[in-house]
């Protein structure tokens, strides 16, 4: 094999090996990097929140900052935004001593800020993870019944659990998919604890 052919073979081997060399996140205790992810979230209202809105929300997303603190372990902060909206041609709303049946427009917006922790189960380009978080949620709602509009806002406790995976597609770049269960103590009309399940898709850099 000539020198040129040998060099070409090495180059081909290196190129072929390049994706495999894109390490996953927190694979080494000596490289505890920071991960930033931005995801879009589709959310399904759960339990009694479905009495307020029961349609899937496609308006939501999360921004997370994860700091590596140990191999396979990160701590960080996350903020999310979700917008639930539904129009009812006719819906009955109960008030003290009264019932109103009318066209109803229900809206609820949630902005969370939580501390989060994640554990990465394995090394490699595909890294499943599980996580927990707790913090607060700012909630604003408005409900229009005929031409009567009632608004509210509050700040309440929030907690979450999530599970997903990082698909490393290049050095320091990953596609992130996850499912998030979000619990809040936010109260809407007829809802004691607003909560939903979200499916997330986005990108992460680390």
């Amino acid at each position: 094999m000539t020198r040129a052919a040998r060099a070409l073979a090495v180059a081909v081997l290196l190129a072929a090996a390049a994706p495999a060399r894109a390490d996953g996140y927190l694979e080494s205790s000596y490289r505890l990097g920071t991960l930033i992810s931005l995801t879009w979230e589709a959310a399904v209202p759960l339990l009694d929140m479905r009495s307020y809105v029961d349609e899937v929300s496609l308006r939501g997303g999360q921004l997370e900052l994860r700091f590596g603190v140990a191999r396979h372990l990160s701590l960080g902060v996350a903020t999310s935004w979700n917008w639930f909206a539904q129009n009812f041609a006719q819906k009955s709303i109960s008030y003290p001593g009264a019932t109103v049946t009318a066209a109803v427009y229900d809206r609820a917006q949630f902005i969370t800020l939580m501390g989060i922790g994640h554990w990465y189960l394995i090394d490699g380009p595909l890294q499943p993870f599980v996580g927990l978080g707790a913090g607060g949620v700012w909630t604003s709602t408005f409900e229009s019944v005929a031409d009567l509009t009632v608004t509210s806002s509050s700040f309440d406790f929030a907690a979450r659990a999530d599970a997903g995976a990082l698909f490393t597609v290049g050095p320091g770049l990953a596609v992130i998919v996850s499912a998030r269960y979000q619990f809040t103590m936010a109260k809407l009309r007829g809802v004691e604890n607003a909560q939903w399940m979200g499916a997330n898709l986005g990108l992460a850099v680390y």
Binding site: R59, G61, T99, T101, A102, A146
Partner: protein
């Protein structure tokens, strides 16, 4: 970038909430703890009182279909009709019935709760043989402004009238259901049906 694009696209102004629909709204009210099961009979006006800002205004509206529909709806809930009342020639003494059913056409656009009490076309308890008495409402009104073409149905406690007051036990408002002051339309009757449907306690034997 895809996530950013999706987020940006979801931030549009939610303009749908600006298109409020009032027509067809039905509100019902009931006195707390009213024992509807203790009442057996009712008398009902044979025409609708009229609350309007227009002048000159007729003192009442004829709507035989609506009157009959309210009567049959109550009979369907187990109450027994005993008399029609002509408010323009009220009886000399109290009507022998447990409940008074009053019907009013609201053609004035007002946001004040129970604004109709001050309108001359609204039938007072005198229509049921209780001159000088006034209605009393034991609830807070949901502040939905009245629109033209609104129908008001009220059921009051004739048997318990005392101290110059006759308590209204149940009221229903069908907002803007009678355009053109026609109170015998299918829309009006449907509003009455909805009012009864959302008041399952309104029956002999019922308690809210």
């Amino acid at each position: 970038m895809a996530a950013l694009a999706l987020l940006a696209g979801s931030c549009g102004y939610d303009i749908l909430t600006r298109n409020m629909v009032t027509s067809g709204t039905v509100a019902t009210y009931h006195a707390p703890g009213a024992a509807f099961g203790s009442y057996g009979t009712f008398a009902i006006v044979d025409r609708l009182g009229l609350a309007t800002d227009a002048t000159p205004a007729p003192p009442f509206v004829t709507a035989t279909g609506l009157v009959a529909h309210v009567r049959s709806s109550l009979e369907g809930r187990g109450f027994r009709w005993v008399a029609y009342v002509d408010p323009t020639t009220p009886p000399g003494g109290p009507v022998a019935a447990d409940l008074a059913v009053n019907l009013t056409a609201l053609e004035a656009t007002q946001s004040a709760p129970a604004f109709w009490l001050g309108y001359p076309g609204y039938w007072q308890p005198a229509a049921f043989g209780l001159p000088g008495d006034s209605w009393s409402y034991p609830w807070s009104w949901v502040p939905i402004p009245a629109k033209a073409g609104t129908v008001l149905v009220e059921i009051s406690d004739l048997r318990g009238a005392a101290g110059g007051h006759v308590e209204v036990l149940w009221a229903a408002l069908g907002y803007a259901v009678a355009p053109g002051q026609n109170y015998d339309t299918a829309g009006v009757l449907a509003a009455v049906d909805q009012a009864f449907a959302q008041s399952p306690y309104l029956t002999t034997g019922g308690v809210p």
